[in-house]
Each structure stands twice: as structure tokens, then as C-alpha cells.
Amino acid sequence: MKKLINSPDSVIADALRGMAAAHPSLAVDLENRVISRAGGATQGKVGLVSGGGSGHEPLHGGYVGYGMLDAAAPGEVYTSPVPDQILAATKAADGGAGVLHIVKNYTGDVLNFRMAAELAEDEDVRVVSVVTNDDAAVEDSTYTAGRRGVGGTVFVEKIAGAAAEEGADLDTVARVAMHVNEVTRSFAIALHAGTVPAAGKPGFDLAENEVELGVGIHGEPGRERGAMAPVHDLIGYSLDVIHADRPISGDVLVMLNGQGGSPLIELYGAFAEAVAWIEGHGGRVARSLVGDYITSLDQEGFSITVMSLDDDLLRLWDAPVATPALRWGR
């Protein structure tokens, strides 16, 4: 393992120092590990908090700012944050109109956020939680932990953030967030596993002619191993899975996301295949993101996230946003 780090133990602390120095628009509490807006909570606005394990940068700290999150709580690499930390983020986000917790569906995230929400209620901050679970790779069932929250979380943060900025109340913002999650599906394929600094070696080994199909965002193996193929086929496979789960039609928002180790030139090529597939199935890519938005350290591969658009969602997507990783309109 060769990485641009000082030691596996210092990775998060060093990265937070770097974020603090790079983004004057952020307040980075190095002690509590909370990233919030430099100006503090917006009075009267619903606060948005998310968090989870680190290693997914720019998620979530890179989405703190106008039109998106108010605070983020980054845990250890791939490990959910702890309740006190989430509580501190919740307080930093609270402008008196309550706080929305955006939680990716992992047992650890769900439990720690639930505990934090209870602590917050004790301090008279009203919290509503929305759990994202957009990963079409995982079979859903009430008897299991259910689906993972993956790329769709970026859409939830953006669109719920825009609704909050418009002045919607907590229940409305939560409803918008849940709606986004419902109309969004993702699928991911990895070519080479990422390396957790503390582990020192890739999460799984793949031969030159193998890929992992249906991976999540934590360097874990996917639902099955497949043969390496042209990106046309990898994208086709992914969109077939999504389409079978929730038909792709009409206007859609698409994120062609890199997992951290695949270069932009490849992501653009993959996106071209996705657009061709969707148009070939009668859909239209009305909006898109291509790049590294929710990563798995240095893992090579992509994820694709597709959301059905309606007029409301389109307006909220297009609304101004000013965060380190997503910015337009101001």
C-alpha cells in the first residue's frame, strides 16, 4: 500500500485539517469531527445533517453549504460516526425549525443516528430521519437489513437541501427526501478494490479478466463476480438491473460516478454509453453529473444512479447550490 498519508491513524484528522484550510465557507470542528457552514445555522430554516464513514469524499463534508447540507459528521474510514458526534452536528445545523437526518441504510449508520436523534430530542431539537436505500444490487426484504444507501444520497441531499432553502417545513423536507429516494436507483461495478489505510491491502482481489458486479461503497465484494467486458456492456448490465427494478422512462437525472481511482476520461466514456442505452429505451437524460461524487477510497470502477424527474424535482435540482463539490447558480 502506497498512499499520500502520514499514517493510517491520522488520515481523517489530516483530511479534516485540509478541508478546513481549503474551504473558508466551512467551519470544521476538528475535536468533535463536525463540518458545518461557516456562518452557522440559518435561523428558521430546516437543518440538514448527514454523515457516515469516511472514504467517500466529497460525500458528505463536500456537500455542506448553501442549498445542501448544514452539517456533516464523518466517521472513521467506512465506519459510521458516533452518537455524540452526530448530536454535535445536529446542534450545529439547528436553526429552530428542526433537523433532518439523512442516513444511508447501514445498520451502524442507522443505529448511531437513531441514538443521536434521541439525544437531540432530549435537548429539544426535533429530528426526523430519512434512510436512503437506492442500491438496486441488493435484494430487498423485511427480513434482512434491506438495501444499501448509495449514490441516490447525493440527490437526496441536493434536492431536500433546495426544499429547505425554499422555506419548506421539516415534514415537507422529509417527504421530499423520501420521494427522491423512492424514485432513484443505483448500481455499481468495481474493477479493482480500494485499500482501507488501516487494512493495508485491497478489500478483495480480482484477476485481470474479472469485475465485481453490484458492489456498495465500502470496498466490499459485490453480489457476484463477472467477466471483464467493454464499458458498453458493463453499463448495459447495470442499467438492465436498474430498469428491471424500476423502469427507466421519461426525463431522468443521471449520475455517472467514479469510485475514486478511475479517471474522468473513462467516466465520460461510460456516461456516453449510459446516455445511448437510456435513449435507446425511450428515456431522456435531462440532467447529469459525471465525476467523483461518492467514492470508495481509491477503488476503480463506477456507479450509475438514475432518478425519475418531474417538474418539482427539476426545479429543486436546478436551484442554486454552493458547496465545495457541487456548485451552480451562485
Binding site: G53, P83, T107
Partner: protein, 209 residues
């Protein structure tokens, strides 16, 4: 030998040492069907438990376990943080403010821990989680205690039962936690949380022996 604050503290210390010694194994179990952080999580969590106990210097075994649980919740993160944290906290509360307890009360406390984990995580036996190690362990502990056996014997039986529960997770397909995302590919591996539960119960057997 009764279970007092000193023994409770020794239990946490021994658990911490056992997890540290086996950190790499826990991590590689988790890498196979999870995200490869269970060793680090447990090491961080039990270190926090020890620190919290040292800072508060609790005088009853109940308070020791509550302090351990709070330390774990506050520093671990992940699934294991809230689950183990609540388990220790609820076990501690079940001990009340007695200066020392005998086997039946400790057995009831372990059962409270199991209940906490099941309530919080929603897992049942057979879902391939720590519940699969703790459920038979609690039953074994209580059986020895009900027969009037000493804590040492009950704890040894519990550790043995946990070990068997751990082995029994190998053929299971996970239905809870990260391993569930792998579907059938989770079959054929030990559950990391069941492995750490076994270490913790073995530590209890050691310090009470």
C-alpha cells in the same frame, strides 16, 4: 468467587487484550463478508470502555459495565458500537447497585444484554450475527447457574457455547448487517461479531476462573 467491581473491570481489561491480540483476525473475517473494520472498531471501543472506567472509578460491577457501555457507544461507531455499548449498559443496569453479585444475577444481566442487542438490531438467531454466539452462551450460563454452579463454571460453559454458536454461523446466509448485502456469497464464513462475542465471553471465563 463473586462478581464485583474489580472483577467486572478485569473482564473489560481482559476483553480489550483479547480483541487486540485477535484484531487482525476479526478484521479479515469482516473483510470477507463486510467492510474490514471490525477489529479496529472493537479495539477502539474496548479501549474507550477501559478509559471511561478508569476516569469514573465506579464502585459497583453494575456501574463498571454501564461505564464500559457508555465508552463503547461514544467512541466505536459502526454497527458494533451501539450494539455492544447498549448490551454492556443494559447488563450493568440489570446488576443494580449491588457491590457484588452471584451467578444467577450475572446470568440475568447477560440475558438483558442479549435482549438489548435484539431490540436494537432486530436480529434473531440464525441471521448470522453476534446474536448467534450470545444466545446459546446466555442459555448455557443460566443453565449452570440454575444448577447452583459458580460463576467460573457458568462463564466457561457460556464461552464454549458461544464458540459453537460462532461455528454454526459458517453455513448461514446473513440476513442482518453488512454481510446481508452479499446474499448467498455470505455463506461459508464466520460472522465477525459472533467471533468478538466469543472472545469477550472467553475473557469473562478467564477472569472469573
Amino acid at each position: 468467587m463473586a462478581f464485583d467491581a474489580q472483577t467486572a473491570t478485569a473482564w473489560i481489561t481482559a476483553s480489550e487484550a483479547a480483541v487486540k491480540a485477535d484484531e487482525a483476525r476479526l478484521t479479515s473475517l469482516d473483510a470477507a463478508i463486510g467492510d474490514g473494520d471490525h477489529g479496529a472498531n472493537m479495539a477502539r471501543g474496548l479501549a474507550a470502555a477501559s478509559t471511561n472506567i478508569a476516569e469514573r472509578a465506579p464502585s459497583t460491577p453494575g456501574d463498571v459495565l454501564v461505564a464500559a457501555g457508555r465508552g463503547i457507544v461514544a467512541k466505536t461507531g459502526g454497527a458494533s458500537g451501539p450494539l455492544y455499548g447498549s448490551a454492556f449498559r443494559r447488563a450493568g443496569k440489570a446488576l443494580g447497585d449491588a457491590a457484588s453479585v452471584e451467578a444467577p444475577v450475572l446470568g440475568a444481566a447477560l440475558e438483558a444484554a442479549l435482549t438489548a442487542i435484539k431490540e436494537l438490531g432486530g436480529a434473531n438467531e440464525g441471521d448470522k450475527t453476534m446474536v448467534d454466539a450470545l444466545t446459546p452462551a446466555v442459555a448455557a450460563f443460566q443453565a449452570v447457574a440454575a444448577d447452583g454452579g459458580p460463576i467460573a463454571a457458568a462463564a466457561a460453559a457460556a464461552a464454549d457455547a458461544a464458540e459453537q454458536g460462532l461455528s454454526a454461523t459458517v453455513p448461514l446466509q446473513a440476513r442482518k448487517g453488512r454481510a446481508s448485502y452479499l446474499g448467498p456469497r455470505s455463506i461459508g464464513h464466520e460472522d465477525p461479531g459472533a467471533a468478538s462475542t466469543t472472545l469477550i465471553l472467553r475473557a469473562l471465563a478467564e477472569v472469573t476462573a
